[in-house]
Symmetry: C2
Subunit: 284 residues, 2 copies
Amino acid sequence: MSLPLGFTASPAGVLKVGPGFSLAARPTNAAPGFSGKKHDGAAALAARAPVLAQLQEQLFAESRFGGQRSVLLVLQAMDTAGKGGIVGHVVGAVDPQGVKLKAFKAPTEEEKAHDFLWRVRPAAPEPGMFGVFDRSHYEDVLIHRVHGWAGEAELDRRYEAINGFEAELAAAGTTVVKVMLHLGPDEQLKRLGARLHDPTKFWKYSSGDLDERAFWPAYMDAYQKAFERTSTASAPWYVVPADKKWYARLAVQEILIETLGAMNLQWPAGNFDLQHERARLKDA
Amino acid sequence: MSLPLGFTASPAGVLKVGPGFSLAARPTNAAPGFSGKKHDGAAALAARAPVLAQLQEQLFAESRFGGQRSVLLVLQAMDTAGKGGIVGHVVGAVDPQGVKLKAFKAPTEEEKAHDFLWRVRPAAPEPGMFGVFDRSHYEDVLIHRVHGWAGEAELDRRYEAINGFEAELAAAGTTVVKVMLHLGPDEQLKRLGARLHDPTKFWKYSSGDLDERAFWPAYMDAYQKAFERTSTASAPWYVVPADKKWYARLAVQEILIETLGAMNLQWPAGNFDLQHERARLKDA
């Protein structure tokens, strides 16, 4: 596949978590694989949106004729890293009819009474759908590790359960793409400050954000461990530098385009006799 | 409220179903209330998208602080009338996180075993959400009337059940907006023909579309009766001429802007002490 304009390397290639991966060694303010500046990135995002939209439409169309395939984008990140922007600007550019979005909040009492995957399974995308998890089952090995809500043995069990669950999804036809938006703590501080100085953003601010911020190193450690245990061939992790919002959006878009592109999607032929239907239409 | 650029009258005002309404008297190829041409309409749609997006964000934000309000757009139409285009181009311009879209297909066996509203109730929008029904409980008084699947007494019961259900929604804080995209039969023929001559559209074509087309007058009669029985002050119907796709999109966008605009939405103040949080942030 030739590289899209402005790219010097495939973002999926350079951002994928592989053996020996170190989160600490990955800068948050870089734009790996892209040679342009912010305005080039914004232009590239707009130019490539129809490509992703067509791939999504083909995936959706395929399911109307028995296709079983689907895609699931899992988004994880520290607060303010830009998950919402990915949903709005990358996912938002495809047809909403083909998108199944699920935002995972703190679990309810009913959800807590079940195993951690209980609430996740029904949120998986149906055939043809482009599923998006805004946070996910990974919270159960991230915030739970950071705050000690689960011990090592339980965390071990969860990593295995996650791998089993994602392997099931893959076997059922779901291509799983996991993205961590990698934000720097200084950039987070700027963004929290912006929320406190813009009345149209007050509603996005929670004093709890600053509390969690104090656990930054523990979160990075929990992410590192999660990557080591759950980045698999069928459900890889991508770590996307997120200090530059424009780059994060562009990179996630390209990762999705590359992922869906590899599925060899086609326009379905339709399940009718073309000549016969054209003749019927003439008499209608 | 002053009229948006290009409008000579409020689309919500001129398209609303009122006493004495006659569907047969409403042209399908007009652009009521709009003085411009196609390119003006496309420009107006793009220009007004951020207005709708902000209103939706305010609705969503309000719910984060206890707000109970939501919006439900019900879309009904003959095949190819452009429901998908409304979803893609009007709804698609707001943040997907705040949208709850439900496409109602032919009911499953389980759904058929229940009353017709059984599958509809759980699809209603939660507080803060912008719900969209692509087809709806109205199929149970439209296709069911056309094909005689329900008799007069049962249809009577259903109109009343619908009014009761929508009154419940309104009482719970949901603003219901019902839109019929009013397509002409000649324009439908053109669009079906286009689907049969473009391989990227074959998947949208069903030979059943031509079968239903034969019942056109019966459908128009069923719509007329549904409007007479279910256009209420709290859940009004709007009949939007749909031969010009650009006009239908623009009109639905303006109806939504006017509807949400009347809700007097505001940015929430946030539930924290601003000065205190700013000070905490400085030390973070």
